[in-house]
Symmetry: C2
Subunit: 200 residues, 2 copies
C-alpha cells in the first residue's frame, strides 16, 4: 500500500491529464474535426503512438473519458442502505454527486458547448453513459434480487434515473445563472417518483 503514487504512476496521470487538456483546448480553438491526434500528442510532448496507449479514441481525450475510472454514481450507490427503495437510492447517490460535478463546472461547460456545436462528439459520451448504465443495473438487480434479463424493473429504474441526471444537467447547462445542481436533481427525481404528471 503505497501512500505516494510512485513516479511512474504520477507521470502517467500527468500525461493523461496533459493529453486531455490539450485535446480540449485544441478542439475549442479549431473545432474537433480539425484536431488531429498528431497535434494533441505534439502539444503534450509525446508521440502519436503513445496517445493511443492512453485513449482509444480521439474524442475520449477531448471529453476526458477514462474507461477504468468508475462513474461518479457507482460508489455512492453501493454505499446506500439495503432497505432503501431503488429510486430513492439512485436519487440519494445523484444528490451526493452533485457537489463533485459543480466543482468541475468549467470543464463540464466547455465540453457541453463543444458537444452542442458538434453533435458527433456526443457519440462517445453516450457510449460511456451506456457503460455506466450497465454497471448500475447490475447493482440494482443485486439489491432487489430481480433478474435483469427477465424483469423490466432494474433496467427501467436505472435508465430513468440516468435520464433524470442527463436532463437536469442539460437545463443546468442552458441556464444563464443556473440553480444549484442538487436542487435541479431533486426536482427532476420528484417528477419521476410522481409518475411524470404534466406539471402546473
Amino acid at each position: 500500500m503505497t501512500m505516494t503514487l510512485g513516479l511512474r504512476e504520477r507521470k502517467k496521470a500527468e500525461t493523461r491529464q496533459a493529453l486531455s487538456a490539450a485535446a480540449l483546448r485544441l478542439a475549442e480553438e479549431l473545432g474537433p474535426e480539425r484536431v488531429t491526434v498528431e497535434a494533441i500528442a505534439e502539444a503534450s510532448g509525446v508521440s502519436p503512438r503513445t496517445f493511443f496507449n492512453y485513449f482509444s479514441h480521439k474524442d475520449d481525450a477531448i471529453l476526458g473519458i477514462s474507461p477504468d475510472e468508475p462513474s461518479v454514481l457507482l460508489d455512492d450507490l453501493v454505499g446506500r442502505p439495503a432497505g432503501e427503495a431503488p429510486l430513492a437510492a439512485l436519487r440519494a447517490a445523484t444528490l451526493a454527486a452533485a457537489g463533485r460535478l459543480e466543482e468541475q463546472a468549467d470543464e463540464l461547460w466547455a465540453r457541453h458547448r463543444l458537444t452542442q456545436a458538434h453533435p458527433a462528439l456526443a457519440v462517445r459520451r453516450t457510449a460511456r453513459f451506456a457503460e455506466v448504465e450497465r454497471e448500475l443495473v447490475e447493482v440494482i438487480a443485486r439489491r432487489t434480487g430481480l433478474d435483469p434479463d427477465r424483469d423490466v424493473y432494474p433496467a427501467l429504474v436505472v435508465a430513468c434515473a440516468l435520464a433524470a441526471v442527463r436532463v437536469a444537467m442539460s437545463v443546468w447547462y442552458e441556464a444563464d445563472r443556473p440553480a444549484p445542481l442538487g436542487s435541479l436533481f431533486a426536482a427532476t427525481f420528484d417528477q419521476l417518483g410522481a409518475g411524470l404528471p404534466l406539471p402546473g
Copy 2:
C-alpha cells in the same frame, strides 16, 4: 403526386436494401469487425465509393439506419389528440408501433444478437436513438407549450418513455418465448406512470 416511385427512386431503395442486407449477412457470418465496406459493396454490385452515398458509416448499414427515415414513434405521436397527457400520448404511440416492430422480428433479433456479441455496434444505434429523442422532445414541448431549454419536463418524459421502449424490447429479445411486445410496453409504461415503485 406519383403513385409509382419512378425508376430512379425504386433503384435507390433497392440498392439501399441490398447494401443493408449484405452488411447484416456478412456481419453475422464473419463478425462486424471483419466485414469491410469493400466486401459489402461488392456483394451488392456497387462500388465502395457508392456505399458512402447511402450510409455514412459501415455500422449504419449493418443496423439498417437511414437518417432521413422518420422514427416509428414520431408519426403516431403527432397524431395523438392535443388534450392527452404527454406520457399517455407517448404510451399510445408506442403501443401503436408495437405491431410494426413485431413484423420485423427476425431482422430485429439478428441485429440484437449481433450487438450483444459486439457492443461496439451499439454505438451507432444509440446515436440514432438520441436523434429520435430530440425530435420527440420538440413535439412534446410544442404540445405542452413548455420551453425545453428551461423546463425539465419535456426532455424528461421523452427520455423516460424511450427508456421504457428500450428496456421492454431488451426483455422481449432475451425471452425464450416472448410475450407480445404490446403487453410488455404496457406493463413498462404502467410502472413509469406509477412512479417506479419496487414491484412485488
